[in-house]
């Protein structure tokens, strides 16, 4: 349903500091239907460097989709979201907030900051994998993502 099914893989940037969640997300995406590369950074500053191709990330690809945790070391996920969505160049990249928080204020604040959607991570393992698979199938097969360069 989108034009990415053949050809270049979809680049996804996962911004997550919990190693267990990183591993599960990688597994779920590896088994997905759409050819994709999952890149992982574990704090907000690294994420900003990746997106702006600074330092060690000079050659990083521009991601087609971002999965963002809110509670991150160094630079908080909320601050990073605000930065991405107010940047003329980066703001069109869809950002899926994926966090353990289900606080009403985090949900509302994320949408205010123009998160593309907000998803609470389930605690239960099977449910977590189901959620990640749903993100994969909706964003990579149903939605039309903006093309990167």
């Amino acid at each position: 349903m989108n034009d990415f099914d053949f050809g270049k893989p979809i680049d996804i940037l996962l911004i997550e500091d919990n190693p267990g969640d990183v591993r599960l997300t990688m597994e779920a995406f590896r088994e997905g239907k759409v050819f994709n590369n999952l890149h992982v950074v574990s704090d907000g500053e690294e994420a900003a460097d990746f997106l702006k191709r600074k330092g060690a990330f000079a050659d990083s690809p521009r991601p087609d989709l971002i999965l963002l945790d809110l509670n991150l070391p160094k630079k908080d996920g909320r601050a990073l979201l605000a930065e991405i969505k107010s940047d003329q160049d980066l703001r069109r990249i869809p950002v899926v907030v994926l966090t353990t928080s289900k606080a009403e204020q985090d949900i509302l604040r994320s949408y205010d900051l123009h998160a593309n959607c907000y998803i609470t991570k389930p605690v239960e393992l099977e449910e977590f994998i189901t959620i990640v698979r749903n993100i994969e199938s909706f964003w990579l097969s149903i939605v039309k993502l903006p093309q990167t360069e």
Partner: protein, 151 residues
């Protein structure tokens, strides 16, 4: 995954009568109780969202499905107005259009559309897409509730 008792309120902004009917059917037969409101042009969409004129008693939608090519006020203009209005900005807007022009895709995301979906021409695929929207946005995603809880 989220469970909500009350019906999800959807505002469909669409001028094509066949697409309206089909979308109504899909959501009526859906897994999740929902109430679909339909407006057929961009000005009506804004009136509905701002509760003006005959829409003074309108509900605040949980989700907006927005076509881009609309009479009176086009979809991009509607999107810009929603996403620059502090009160309306948190409502997720799904652009659902026949267009697959890269310019429309990029412009929509730049204007903070929550996602962009090209309507498939094929009937079964259209139904599958509508079901996917229903499932993802009402079962997987946490939708915002406005502060103060007004509905």
């Amino acid at each position: 995954m989220k469970k909500r008792q009350e019906a999800m309120k959807i505002l469909l902004v669409e001028d094509n009568l066949a697409d309206i009917r089909l979308t109504q059917e899909v959501f009526r037969e859906g897994q999740i109780p929902s109430e679909l409101f339909t407006v057929k042009d961009g000005e009506e969409a804004i009136d509905f969202l701002r509760r003006r004129g005959k829409y003074a008693g309108a509900s605040r939608p949980d989700l907006v499905l927005l076509d881009l090519n609309l009479p009176k006020k086009n979809g991009k203009e509607v999107l810009r107005e929603i996403k620059s209005d502090k009160n309306l900005a948190p409502i997720p807007v799904i652009v659902l259009t026949t267009s697959k022009a890269e310019e429309d895709v990029c412009r929509s995301y730049d204007l903070h559309a929550n996602c962009f979906i090209t309507k498939p021409f094929d009937l079964d695929r259209f139904i599958a897409v509508a079901r996917a929207i229903e499932h993802f946005w009402f079962r997987i995603v946490q939708l915002p509730r406005p502060a103060g809880g007004q509905t």
